[in-house]
Amino acid sequence: MSQRGEAQRILLDVRDLHTEFRTGVGVVRAVDGVSYTVERGETVAIVGESGSGKSVGAMSILRLIPNPPGRITQGEVIFDGRDLMRLSEAEMRHVRGGDIGMVFQEPMTSLNPVLTIGRQITETLEQHRGASRAEAHRRAVELLGLVGIADPERRLRQYPHQLSGGMRQRVMIAVALTCEPKLIIADEPTTALDVTIQAQILELMKSLTERLGVALIIITHNLGVVARYAHRVNVMYAGRIVESGPAAAIYRDPRHPYTMALLRSVPRLDRPRQARLDPVEGQPPDLTRLDQGCSFRPRCRFAVAACAASRPPLTPAGASGQLAACFRATELAGGAAA
């Protein structure tokens, strides 16, 4: 593909992003040099555990990091040809909820409790698009229908607390879609929901992103959700991407020992019961005490002397498009079974 074609295909290009927090016990490098791209219309999952930097990374893209204590110290975020890090705050407000829609984990806290559902949607339309009240109302009805809410006229007059959790998340998705975004960032969109409702919401997001051609960044800790919905995956550990690539390749032949250990540790309904689970040993890293070596090293069963000396960069390993930040990535083929 030509360079020009490539540039048109890529919607979001995050380059060497660094975000840190100053805390009482030291500086936490929550996001420590993260680079990845999202193509138009594709679903990219960011997987990681608490403290891995997956949410902070996404909030950094939107420049929603509270300062102090947080600060984006370095990096470029090229979205549709513009570096979001260089925009004014006013321009940035236009991007948030405009070209980039957001869906958060807890819809009760991200919807305004004193505004009706209708007002939350029409407000966005009036501010971003200068729509008239009547136009905005018509579009709001249409959007609620789109996200599968029956009787939209009645729902528009209700307040968030009058809706169930699943219904509120549908409203959040409607709000995110209001200005026909090119990208939706969904931070643990279904973690607070029950499993049957989670399935409904994820199916809805999948069909809408496919139908409307919207790219989706889905941040989650659920490896099953990633397997069902993501085209590509970035696995994060201690503020860095340790493995990335096509979802199918990473699940079939993971090359970073953390990805391998993670996939091995979860019990699976489609496999015979194991006598014993195979956990990732040790504790999650203390982000204030990282050294120059690989941060997974203390828990890694493949660690060698080189791992203490420096951090391995993301390098091609395994399938086409697959990258792993491990010195031994090429020799760890089929390592998930080891």
């Binding site: 555990e49 608490s50 169930s164 699943g166 219904m167 029950d194 499993v195 049957t196 409702i197 989670q198 399935a199 409904q200 199916e203 800790h221 659920n222 490896l223 099953g224 959700v225 990633v226 397997a227 069902r228 919905y229 979802a247 199918a248 699940y251 079939r252 250990a261 993670l262 996939l263 540790s265 979860v266 019990p267 699976r268 309904l269 489609d270 019961r273 194991q274 014993r276 689970l277 195979d278 956990p279 990732v280 040993e281 504790q283 999650p284």
Partner: protein, 333 residues
Amino acid sequence: MSAALAAHEAPLLEVRGLRMHFPVTEGIVARRTIGTVKAVDGIDFTVGRGETLGLVGESGCGKTTTGRCILRLETPTAGEIRYKGQDIAKLDRKSLLALRRRIQVIFQDPYSSLNPRMKVGAIIAEPMKVHGVVPDAAKRADRVRELLSVCGLDPRFADRYPHEMSGGQRQRVGIARALALEPEFIVCDEAVSALDVSIQAQIVNLLEDLRERFHLTYLFIAHDLSVVRHICQRVAVMYLGHIVELASCDELFGNPLHPYTQALLAAVPVPDPSVEAARTFRPVQGEVPSPMNPPSGCVFHPRCPLAVDRCRREAPQPRELRPGHWVACSEVQ
């Protein structure tokens, strides 16, 4: 102990017709009852000695309330909870204290269930103090160190505060505290749900080791079906205050009969894109109705693909469709 053996001897715990209804009130000065939440509405099950029974279902199905009734943190509205033959639903305060030495609990959230102002050692020693089990302070300290190491923690952690520990380590402290009185029965209420994936397997393994080592019996309340399948011998599926299906683990996951259990299992995505790509999947429609105003007849009928007229009128009674496999549905055969 084998499950077959457990089935023949008297169960350790026997729950019969358990109901827990909470009044819903309105008004601050003149309080009046405007309705009832039927959190648990007539359930029966047994737990054999040495067995792990899973209690699964979505929020509001009554699984946690059931656990709280067994711990007598709630006094049931109706029904019997027989522990070794004694009905604990009707015990007075004094007999309850004795019971609580035998029945302990591990909570979901290791952040809010440990007192942040107490050192880990004091947290673990507290139940022994309250029950006067190990009156000697030095011996108690020894016991705390032993419990910490049994739970995979360095005994020196006794001098730390909970905030100095990770979530997984805190959950180990919660488990050590539950073990302090040498209980027979432990209610694990979402004991691994709040933990990170990489830590969850460590705690599951620990719970299994402890079960074997101390001959424990667990009621394992959880919503993660993959974990339940791994750790339990039998599983009860709850929906809106009712048990809709109860069977051995292999039977329930291998041959789910109730439409709700089937929907629940289908909704769990498998961590493997090649498996997922081959699956055709249509999520069950609708949401769980309010337990204040549950549907007539079978509580699942508004969402059920099999529902017929009769389901709207009659509440189905549990039937044993295969040996040990109980289903509360009048349509499945």
